[in-house]
Symmetry: C3
Subunit: 157 residues, 3 copies
C-alpha cells in the first residue's frame, strides 16, 4: 500500500486547474471537477453580508460544459490572456473524508499592444474528493474581493 501525499496532489490539482484556464484548455478544466460538482462565483461583499447568491452558480458537470460552449461561441474576438497566481493552499480534512482547501488567488490579463493589468483577486474555497482514486473538485467557490468583475463575460476564474 502506497501512502498518498494528498497535500502535494492537491497542489498539483490546483496547478492543472490554473494551467488549463490560462491556456484556454476549457474542456480539460471541466475534467478537474466531479460529476456532481458545484462551481460558484460570489463577491466577498455578499459573503460578509450573508447573501449567498452567486454572480454565477453552476451545478453539475454538464452545466460547466454548457458554459464552456457558450464561451467558445461568445469570445471569438476576445484575445485577452489570463494568468493566475495562487498562494499556498491551506488544507484541512473534513469529517466525511473530503478535503477543505482555501487558497488566495490573483488573476492578471494581458493582450497584444497593451500593458498587462490586474484583473481580479480573492480566494477559493474548495471541497476536494477522491473519485476512482483521482482528486476532483466537488465544490469550488470563487470569492471575489473586487465587485466590478463581470464573470459572465470572462473565462472561468
Amino acid at each position: 500500500m502506497i501512502e498518498r501525499d494528498i497535500r502535494n496532489e492537491i497542489v498539483d490539482l490546483l496547478c492543472r486547474y490554473v494551467y488549463f484556464l490560462d491556456h484556454g484548455k476549457l474542456e480539460d478544466w471541466v475534467e478537474c471537477f466531479s460529476d456532481n460538482c458545484r462551481y460558484k462565483i460570489i463577491t466577498r461583499e455578499n459573503v460578509e453580508a450573508g447573501l449567498p447568491a452567486g454572480m454565477l452558480d453552476c451545478q453539475g458537470k454538464d452545466m460547466l460544459r454548457d458554459r464552456v460552449s457558450y464561451i467558445r461561441l461568445a469570445s471569438v474576438s476576445n484575445i485577452h490572456r489570463d494568468r493566475h497566481i495562487l498562494g499556498a493552499p491551506h488544507v484541512t480534512q473534513a469529517a466525511d473524508g473530503s478535503y477543505d482547501v482555501v487558497t488566495n488567488f490573483v488573476v492578471f490579463q494581458s493582450e497584444p499592444d497593451r500593458d498587462s493589468r490586474l484583473f481580479c483577486l480573492g480566494y477559493y474555497e474548495d471541497k476536494v474528493v477522491l473519485v476512482d482514486g483521482l482528486l476532483k473538485l466537488r465544490e469550488k467557490t470563487v470569492v471575489l474581493d473586487n465587485d466590478s468583475v463581470t464573470p459572465l463575460l470572462s473565462t472561468p476564474l
Copy 2:
C-alpha cells in the same frame, strides 16, 4: 515518535497568518506570534543602507495587542480589504533549532466601487520556533520594496 513535516507546518502557519489579516481577524493574527516576539516593518532602502530603524517596531505580544486595539479604534471608516499572495517560503534551520524563513509577498487592496490595486510588496524574514509543540513567529521582519506605504495607518502586513 512522529516525525514532523516542519516545512508543511511552516506553510500552514503562513497561510493562517495571511488568512487572519485578509479577513480582519487581528486577535487571531496576534496568536501566530510567541510571547517574546518582535514584529518590525522596514524599507528595503534602509536595509541596504544599513539603517536598521523600522517604520514600525513592536516588541512582545502585548505591544501587538495594543496595536490591534488602536487599529480597531482608528479604522472604523476604513473599508479596504487586503489580499496577500505569498511565494513559497525558503526554510533553513538555524544552529539553535529555530527556523529561518524567507518569503516574497505582495498585498493588493480592494474597496467597493473602485478597481483593486497593488498596495505593497517585498519579503518576510521570519524566525519560527516551537512553543509547546506549536510553531510560532519569534521574529517577523517585513521588508518593503516600496517606501511610500504608511503602515501606521494600515492593518499589519
Copy 3:
C-alpha cells in the same frame, strides 16, 4: 540511501533563483544553471504562433556570465528593484530522469519615490537535472504574456 524529496528541492531551487534576482546577486543566479544550460525569453504570442525565436537566447553558462557582466556595466543608473512572486511549480519526471517544471510567475518593480508597478508575467518551462547531487537548471524558457517588455535592458527574469 536517503530518499530525496525532489519536489521540495525544486521549490528551494526556484526560491534561490528568484532571491538572487530580486537581490541583485546575479553571479549566484548563474550558478543555478548547469554548464550546458539554455536560457531563453520568448513571448507567448510567438509560442502560440509556432515561432520559436526568443527575444533572448543564451546557450551555456559562459554566455550567462557575459550577460551578467553586460548588465553590471549597463545598469549603473538603473535603480529599480524586482520582486518575483511564483505560483506552485508543477513537476513531472521525463523519461531520461530529468524533471519538467512549469511555474506561473509575476514580477513587480519598485523604485524610490514612485509607486511599485506590475512589470511582467507569464510562466517558466524548466528542465531540471541532477549535477553532482545538486539540482540545476538545464533549460529555462521564460514565456512572457505581455510583449511590451524589453528584456535586453532588464535584469533576467
